[in-house]
C-alpha cells in the first residue's frame, strides 16, 4: 500500500465515483496491490525471510509503499488441488 502520507489519486478517483453508483458514506479509498507467490516447498522461516527480502527489494518501493507478507494454504485461495502453500504479500 502507498504510505499514508503519499497522495493516491487513483484511490481518490474511485472514491469520487462511489456516490454516482449510489454508495454513500465512504470517506476515503486507497488503492493497493497484491502479489500471490506459489512456493514449491513448505514455507519455512528461511523461505519466508527470503520472500520478505524480495518484497522489500523488488515488489515494493519502500520509499513510498508499505507491505506485509502472509502465508496461506493454496486451498484457501480457491486454487484447489495443488496442495502447495503460497506466501502472499499485500504490496502497494
Amino acid at each position: 500500500m502507498l504510505k499514508p502520507e503519499i497522495l493516491d489519486p487513483q484511490g481518490q478517483a474511485v472514491q469520487r465515483a462511489l456516490p454516482r453508483l449510489g454508495f454513500e458514506g465512504i470517506a476515503d479509498v486507497r488503492q493497493g496491490k497484491r502479489f500471490e507467490l506459489e512456493v514449491a516447498e513448505p514455507v519455512t522461516d528461511e523461505a519466508l525471510a527470503r520472500i520478505h527480502e524480495l518484497a522489500e527489494k523488488f515488489l515494493a518501493n519502500t520509499v513510498i509503499e508499505n507491505f506485509t507478507v502472509s502465508v496461506e494454504n493454496a486451498g484457501d485461495t480457491g486454487d484447489s488441488g495443488s496442495g502447495s502453500e503460497s506466501a502472499q504479500g499485500a504490496v502497494a
Binding site: L7, Q10, F58
Partner: protein, 228 residues
C-alpha cells in the same frame, strides 16, 4: 570532440522510446553517441550515460522497477557512484529513483491524465555535470510527456534536497503533475547524477522541437569531460 573524449552511452531497454533522440542530441552537441543494450555487462568505455525515456519493460510492477535490475545497471551503478556523469530523462529518472541513486519516487500525475506539452522550467543548479552551460535561474522550455511524473518524497528528504541545493529544475507557470515543491529534476550529492521528467533531448533542433534549450545538457557534459 578529440582524443576519444565525449563518448556518451545511451541505454536501450525493451520499451525505451527516446533512445534514438538522445543519441541524436549527443551528436548535435558534438559528442559521440554509443548505443548500449540493457543486457550489456559493461559500458564499452563510455564517459557518461543517458537513461532515456519510454516505458521500459512495459512499466510493469512500477515505472523503472524492472529496468533497475537489468545487467547493464550493475556497472552503471558502480561507475555512477564513482563519479561518472549519468542523466536520467523521464523513464530514466524513474529508473534512477528505483535504483536509489536519487531519492524519492515518481507517482501517478495528481490529475490522472497523461500530459504532453511544452513546459517551462527554471534551472536552479548550474554546477552539475549536465547543467553548467545554463545561467543560474535561466528559464528553458522543453517538451514534457508522462503519466507518472509526480515527484514525491517524505518531508525530511524534501527539506534535505532544498537545504543541500539539490533541486536542479523546478516547474514554472504551473505544476503539471502535482510534483512536491514543483520539483522537475534533482541531482545526487556529488552532482554527477541528474534526473528529470521533462525531455531536453526533444528540444535540440528548431525543426522538431519548441526550442533548442535542451542542447545545453549535452554540451555541458561534453565540456566537463574535456576538462576532467
Amino acid at each position: 570532440m578529440t582524443g576519444g573524449l565525449g563518448r556518451i552511452g545511451v541505454v536501450t531497454f525493451p520499451g525505451s522510446l527516446d533512445d534514438s533522440d538522445a543519441r541524436r542530441a549527443v551528436r548535435l552537441a558534438g559528442g559521440e553517441p554509443v548505443a548500449l543494450w540493457h543486457r550489456d555487462k559493461n559500458l564499452h568505455q563510455v564517459d557518461a550515460v543517458v537513461l532515456p525515456g519510454g516505458f521500459s519493460y512495459g512499466d510493469y510492477l512500477r515505472c523503472g522497477a524492472i529496468a533497475r535490475f537489468s545487467p547493464v545497471m550493475e556497472p552503471l551503478l558502480e561507475q555512477a557512484r564513482a563519479g561518472m556523469p549519468v542523466l536520467g530523462i523521464c523513464n530514466g529518472f524513474q529508473v534512477l529513483c528505483e535504483s536509489h541513486l536519487l531519492p524519492g519516487a515518481l507517482t501517478r500525475n495528481d490529475h490522472l491524465h497523461f500530459i504532453c506539452r511544452d513546459q517551462k522550467l527554471r534551472v536552479e543548479r548550474t554546477d552539475t555535470a549536465w547543467t553548467s552551460d545554463y545561467a543560474d535561474g535561466q528559464e528553458i522550455t522543453v517538451p514534457l510527456k508522462n503519466g507518472e511524473g509526480g515527484y514525491v518524497a517524505d518531508e525530511r528528504t524534501l527539506d534535505a534536497l532544498e537545504a543541500e541545493g539539490r533541486v536542479v529544475f523546478r516547474y514554472v507557470d504551473g505544476n503539471p503533475n502535482g510534483s512536491r515543491r514543483d520539483i522537475a529534476g534533482i541531482t545526487n550529492e556529488a552532482g554527477n547524477v541528474v534526473g528529470l521528467m521533462p525531455h531536453p533531448e526533444h528540444a535540440v533542433e528548431t525543426l522538431t522541437g519548441p526550442t533548442t534549450d535542451g542542447l545545453g545538457f549535452f554540451t555541458s557534459v561534453l565540456k566537463k569531460l574535456v576538462t576532467a
